[in-house]
């Protein structure tokens, strides 16, 4: 039984024919970690944003359905949709330095959803926040909750954002390149922390990244995107053993190998890109005529 089910989702730049997502379908089972990989502009972030209802105002969904925990999100009235998403899903954002409100203390930023959206009593929400901050290995949660974001390091802030994402025990978390903005040394810890929290809470995770190394470490399945279209959806095991799509193979070959620095940095060959673009064009034609 899939917890998140996206069927035939297409989106375009508002008022133009420029496609952002092309007929995207994917399923994430409860407790599964699904990777969304692709280059910049492939549309991987847009899928996560569409699920959470935070697409930029310039992007409009033209067709398709997003089903979250059995609710057909796109058919709900906006206010109701927002509330349901807030109660069942959460976001781990990309840049911890900009994702916390600089003029609010940490405590309320972790507890606000519990109190305002889920209606918890404040004291209970605060106890919960303290537990969660301890769970993400933050020393002295009491002090941190009274702090302002600028008093904390980037790694600390990302831990807080992770704690905050898990606060309402969501069934799905979208992690939007959660380690890209961090130092390499901190990246590893944060990745480990997300995997640890995911396993403990049994949350389904939609993991947006351009790093196949990260995918191999934390994901069970993945979708490879190019030009807003899913090229290949498969399990991580199969993907690394026998990638089915030509683009997937090229992408794997382009991943830098630390064991063989001389052979690293092979770009995706032009011929592969041309083939992929021809495939997308054919797909667009079939959509128009079908």
């Amino acid at each position: 039984m899939s917890f998140l089910k996206i069927t035939g989702l297409s989106a375009r730049l508002k008022g133009t024919a420029f496609p952002i997502l092309r007929d995207v379908s994917l399923e994430v089972a409860a407790g599964e970690v699904h990777g969304l990989v692709g280059e910049s502009g492939a549309g991987k972030s847009m899928i996560g944003k569409a699920v959470l209802g935070i697409l930029p105002a310039s992007v409009e969904i033209t067709r398709g359905a997003i089903e979250l925990d059995g609710m057909d999100l796109l058919s709900l009235p906006p206010a109701e949709r927002r509330r349901r998403i807030g109660a069942t899903a959460a976001l781990i954002p990309q840049d911890p330095l900009t994702a916390l409100n600089p003029s609010r203390r940490i405590g309320p930023q972790v507890t606000d959803r519990l109190v305002d959206i889920l209606g918890w009593p404040r004291a209970r929400a605060e106890t919960r926040a303290r537990e969660l901050l301890a769970e993400v290995h933050i020393p002295d949660p009491e002090r941190v909750m009274r702090s302002y974001p600028h008093e904390l390091s980037g790694g600390m802030r990302q831990r807080i954002l992770i704690a905050s994402a898990f606060a309402a025990e969501p069934k799905l978390i979208v992690a939007d390149e959660p380690t890209t903005a961090l130092d390499v040394t901190v990246q590893k810890q944060i990745l480990k922390l997300i995997a640890e929290m995911q396993a403990r809470h049994g949350t389904a995770l939609l993991f947006v990244t351009h790093d196949l190394g990260v995918v191999s470490k934390v994901c069970q399945s993945l979708s490879v995107l190019y030009g807003g279209k899913v090229m290949e959806a498969t399990t991580v095991r199969d993907f690394f053993r026998q990638p089915a799509h030509g683009y997937s193979r090229a992408l794997l070959a382009a991943t830098p190998k630390y064991t063989d620095p001389a052979a690293s940095l092979t770009p995706v060959p032009d011929a592969v890109i041309a083939a992929v673009q021809a495939e997308i064009a054919a797909h667009d034609r079939s959509l128009r005529h079908g």
Binding site: L52, I54, G86, A89, A90, Q94, D95, P102, S103, D112
Partner: protein, 337 residues
């Protein structure tokens, strides 16, 4: 500690500023043509009369000598005596100050309320015709100066639909039980809402005329700042938590968007106080500005000096308050970083 040292430094620079202003005013009003003595004397006064009066007011001495005498007085709290009314300048000026302060603050409150409403409505309806209409209104409000708005208001609320008083500060026939000159403030304290209504009805048009351009500036800047803030990651994150547009605007974006607006409001507020000079004249409102014009017309040198110094003191005080509230609202500054 750091904040306290910054505060002391500000006080020191303020003192230097005020001395500078005093010197400039002192010299300028003595150098420009126009002799206060000539205006006081009846036609046919003799040379001896003129010399006697000039000496009486100390105007026969050199300008530096006059300045030193004036400074000695100021240090003892004596700003001289008004030439036209023969009363101590300090008492005259402090008697009018409350009227101008009440008018300016009323105007500021109106400007913040209207400007804030424009910014919030514009942000809530960004990209729609509502926002476009607000922008057009803002542009009009900005391009017409406050005294013209005063005339427009007189035409509307004084002539076509006469609901407000067009001149004075309070209806002269009313019995005033006040012990201070803060009429508006005291009428509330004494629970005399009949007087309060009369005072507000006198103040409303001049305050609104002063407020309209400032409201447009606040509306425009705050809206711009809000719109930029609405794209930031923490606002998006709040949306994923389930919060709606109104909440996101007022609780996530507004506290951060206010900061750049605040500095500008401080600067503009000092312009607004400067604007009271003409507006008070227009509405015959008995405040400092009106008194300043009379003082200039009558070449009442000590009074002009006193008023200008007081205006300068108000300006620097406003700037100080703005800086302090900026530090108070911005946690990054509050912690001395």
């Amino acid at each position: 500690m750091q904040l306290f040292r910054a505060f002391l430094l500000r006080l020191a620079t303020t003192a230097v500023t005020l001395i500078g202003v005093a010197v400039i005013v002192f010299v300028v009003i003595r150098v420009v043509p126009g002799n206060p003595i000539a205006m006081m004397l009846p036609p046919g006064a003799t040379e001896a009369d003129i010399a006697r009066l000039t000496a009486q007011y100390g105007l026969d001495k050199s300008i530096p000598a006059q300045f030193l005498i004036w400074c000695q007085g100021v240090v003892q709290g004596d700003f001289g005596t008004s030439i036209t009314s023969n009363q101590p300048v300090l008492r005259l000026v402090l008697g009018r100050l409350p009227a101008t302060l009440e008018l300016s603050i009323m105007a500021l409150v109106i400007a913040v309320v209207i400007g804030g409403a424009i910014a919030l409505t514009g942000t809530r309806n960004r990209g729609t015709k509502v926002e476009a209409a607000l922008d057009v209104g803002n542009g009009m409000a900005l391009s017409v100066p406050d005294f013209l708005w005063g005339l427009v208001l007189i035409l509307i609320f004084g002539v076509l639909w006469p609901v407000f008083h067009i001149s004075g500060r309070v209806t002269p026939s009313l019995e005033l039980p006040f012990t201070t000159d803060f009429y508006l403030f005291e009428s509330v304290l004494r629970l005399r809402f009949d007087l309060w209504a009369d005072i507000v009805s006198h103040m409303f048009m001049p305050a609104l005329a002063l407020a309209i351009p400032l409201a447009a500036i606040i509306g425009q800047l705050l809206k711009q700042s809000l719109k930029e803030t609405m794209h930031l990651d923490y606002v998006t994150l709040a949306r994923t938590k389930g919060y709606g547009e109104n909440h996101v605007i007022t609780r996530e974006a507004l506290p951060n968007a206010i900061l750049p607006t605040l500095t500008l409001v401080g600067v503009q507020f000092t312009f607004l106080i400067g604007g009271t000079v003409i507006i008070e004249r227009l509405f015959s409102y008995e405040g400092l500005g009106n008194m300043a014009i009379d003082a200039v017309i009558n070449r009442d040198l000590p009074l002009i000096q006193g008023i200008v110094i007081l205006f300068a003191a108000i300006f620097t005080a406003v700037n100080l308050i703005v800086d302090l509230s900026y530090a108070l609202l911005n946690p990054r500054l509050r912690h001395g970083q």
